[in-house]
Amino acid sequence: MKFKKQLFGFMDMLRFTKLVPNRRAALAAGADTPLPETWAVNEQARALHPGRMQVELTEVTPLTPRMAELVFRRVDGDAFPFFRAGQYVSLQGKVGDSVISRPYSIASSPRQALQNRLVLGVENAGFFSQYLTQEAKPGDRFVMTEPSGEFHYETLRDKKHIVGVAGGSGITPLLSMAQSALEGDEPYQMTLFYGARRAEDLAFRKELDALSEKGLKVIYVLSDEERPGYEHGFVSGELLSKYVPVQDVTYFLCGPKAMYEYLAGQMAPWHLPVKAVHKDATCCPSLSMDNPRTFTLTVHIRDKVFTVPAREDETLLTAMERAGIEAPNKCRAGGCGYCHSKWLGGDFQVAEGRDGRREADRKFGFVHPCVTYPLSDMELDVPPAE
């Protein structure tokens, strides 16, 4: 190449030989002050995402014949993190020899979290929730995971007018969403349909009535009771049409599976895009089967090995919890991936419609134990809970 010699001057080689001495000198000229141990953004991350928090139950109040309000305060920090209204926490405790945890939507608002107050509305519907609603008392300590989940408003995706449909205890995230908007932290206008069997089954009436006075539109819908001022029946397509422009809103549904199925049928004629309807996840249940077999599950956690029984009608996560093993978990619905574990052997099935694994997880043999049932003896490598 002819340009070579003209490229630069005769000093170029000298300059090159100075690269190392220059860097050496610059490194030696660095400050001798102690290195920082953290940074503002990293502290921000810690505040917003504390991981597992130590919490104390401060109040238990009955809400309905089947639901109780549980109020918590954080004891390993000044306050709960600010979160996105609609999110859930996983509450973890010990009952007998089992460790147990369940996800519960947060009923209180993100602003209240900053005041170190977090409210759950728990329905007495299972082993842990029965314990929480009937036996737990103020002063009891639990582990709570940080608020998580994608069931929340997205400013750049959703319509300005949102419609909440709550069935039973499904009111909790929608209550938080309604409060958060009225506190100025969310930009939407909300119409809330709240269905229950009877008026006495409606939880958080006082809070909802207060929000109504500030502009929240609430329609109560009773299926087993006719009352003036209340709609009667189920939250149907016809009822929705009566109150809202059904094509020009975004739906947030939270309730039992039967409600989702019913509404899907009711809304089908509207041909809404996928993005118009958001459903909160439900916990993965045990399978109903006669005479379930019991297999052996071998669990590796770091350098420890445990051998535990695993019933074919229960998830691998449940099998570990029954044996007192603290395995990581949050959503218990297959989606969050927090329980992501390495499959080492054995046959299994994933709960229908709940395979939230990444494509490569399936290829390389990883499972989400919260939605996986054993079909033979199995072996897993599971991360410790923390």
Partner: protein, 515 residues
């Protein structure tokens, strides 16, 4: 000490690209290795996440220097040696980049391939061919010289260098802009050729020509490729290889401290629950600031280490937007795979505007479907937008403003993309996720949410780093670094290379010690 576990020849802290690669190198040499990872997944930034119908790529735009099976680049060759090439399904990236500057100076689509690239440049900037050709010839020498330097682990012989790589040495101390000026490259061609600068995150007045040239030639002359199942597929392939080779990998297991004896020699690594893993060798796939600031025993942190670490500058902090769209790329009119959208081709001006969140309108944006149509369901497509914040400006965001601020930046990214490409995507948003510096700090622990390691500018540019590998490592015997904060700086290919290097060098250290 609470409990003393099994001893390992090497403990790797951090299962990012560099850490995973290093672990395989250690295991391939027959040494025992434990990888500790604080998250529940391997890969660090090399991962994916699901939202509804979409599985998003977290960070990879394309794997540089990969090449075809027949003409492998350095990274494919490395993957072959690691034993993971065949575990991964690969797709070839079609074109190099689509450069748009919003001052209306540039809107050009550049192809891969030396000939095609040079032809396209001549078409866009008549008369540019000689200088562009000369540029690539010079780059080729740079590449050869760097390969030599890596082969001898930085112990270069100056006479050999002078004989074989004279132009490399001549150009070696200059910035990109100085060299392009010296080559008398037309300004427009310089601007178009400079588009990749945001992948290294330093303006071209301060970026070493050697660094940029070696990257650009790898992009243009060797195909870039991408794993089908997002970068999570690479991470799991590497993870699987570690298990095959008998290595251990523990998730949810952040290392708390690197322990030393009275003389400052490494004796082990402790976990947050107090468990101690005896070892004499640590490869840290993390920032030296964190290792020396809060992990290594204070008595081993010498004044020299403190000064050398304080001297360095954090490079770009990451911000990304991920969109799942309910229309196909074709329906939306999105034609390119990889967009660089700048305000201006003046990289110094651009770099300075990226110091502040509210004046930063730069984006490197990928529509993955244009490389791999099957990456999302029929009738949909997905995009990811990334920018770098060139200061700690994000730290001013309060907790209660956090989500709104993320939305504001994301909104600006969408606005700029729509305005500059004419593709209306907003109404098609079905899934959205936003990662801020806080998100990166949360998952990877890097200071200030830095995703590019230490800035490779001025005195800390790539060449002197390469020439000081041994000297830098001597600061703390038994400890080496891998990943974006290591010698080779950030980017997937660089992280794999740094892991390869640190893994093999640690094996060398073990041999020297006679262990």
């Amino acid at each position: 000490m609470k409990s003393q576990g099994k001893a390992y020849d090497v403990v790797v802290i951090g299962a990012g690209n560099g850490g995973l690669t290093a672990a395989i190198r250690v295991l391939q040499a027959g040494r025992s290795c434990l990888v500790l990872e604080k998250h529940n997944l391997p890969g660090g930034f090399a991962t994916s996440f699901r939202r509804g119908r979409f599985e998003f790529e977290a960070s990879l735009h394309e794997l540089n220097d990969f090449g075809s099976p027949e003409e492998p680049g350095d990274i494919r060759t490395l993957f072959r040696e690691l034993g993971v090439e065949d575990k991964i399904g690969w797709i070839r990236i079609p074109d190099a980049y689509h450069l748009i500057t919003t001052d209306k100076q540039y809107d050009c689509e550049m192809p891969f391939g030396l000939q095609a690239f040079t032809d396209k440049m001549e078409e866009l900037v008549p008369g540019s061919r000689p200088s562009v050709t000369a540029f690539f010839e010079l780059c080729d020498e740079v590449r050869a010289a760097q390969t030599y330097s890596m082969e001898v682990n930085g112990h270069t012989d100056s006479e050999y260098m002078k004989k074989h790589f004279p132009n490399f040495l001549r150009a070696g101390s200059y910035s990109v802009n100085e060299v392009l000026d010296a080559l008398k490259m037309p300004k427009k061609a310089q601007d178009i050729l400079g588009a990749y600068w945001c992948y290294l995150g330093v303006d071209l007045d301060r970026m070493s020509f050697l660094h940029y040239g070696s990257m650009v030639i790898r992009y243009i002359t060797r195909d870039a490729w991408m794993p089908k199942m997002r970068s999570h597929e690479i991470s799991l392939a590497l993870e699987t290889r570690i298990r095959e080779l008998g290595g251990d990998i523990w998730y949810h297991s952040p290392a708390a401290h690197i322990l030393t004896d009275e003389a400052g020699a490494i004796t082990g690594v402790s976990l947050t629950d107090g468990q101690v893993i005896p070892t004499h060798h640590v490869i840290a796939n993390m920032a030296p600031h964190v290792v020396f600031g809060s992990m290594l025993d204070k008595k081993a942190v010498t004044p020299q280490i403190t000064r050398a670490t304080n001297a360095r500058t954090f490079a770009g902090r990451g911000f990304s937007l991920f969109l799942g769209l309910n229309k196909s790329a074709e329906e939306l009119g999105i034609k390119s795979h990889n967009y660089f959208i700048y305000d201006t081709a003046d990289t110094v001006k651009q770099y300075n505007s990226m110091r502040r969140v509210d004046t930063n309108h730069v984006q490197a944006t990928v529509c993955l479907n244009n490389a791999y149509p099957a990456c999302s369901p029929e009738g949909t497509c997905m995009m990811y937008f990334t920018t770098l914040i060139m200061s700690d400006d994000w730290s001013r965001v309060s907790q209660s403003e956090y989500f709104k601020m993320k939305d504001r930046v994301a909104d600006d990214m969408i606005r700029v993309f729509e305005r500059e490409t004419g593709c209306q995507i907003r109404d098609a948003i079905e899934e959205i996720a936003v990662a801020s510096p806080t998100t990166y700090a949360r998952y990877c622990g890097h200071p200030e949410g830095t995703i590019y390691g230490y800035e490779t500018a001025g005195w800390d540019s790539l060449m002197p780093r390469m020439m000081m590998i041994a000297e830098d490592a001597a600061l703390c015997p038994g400890l080496r670094f891998a990943g974006g904060f290591a010698m080779r700086s950030s980017g997937y290919s660089s992280a794999y290379v740094s892991g390869d290097l640190s893994g093999r060098q640690t094996v060398g250290d073990l041999k020297k010690e006679g262990r």
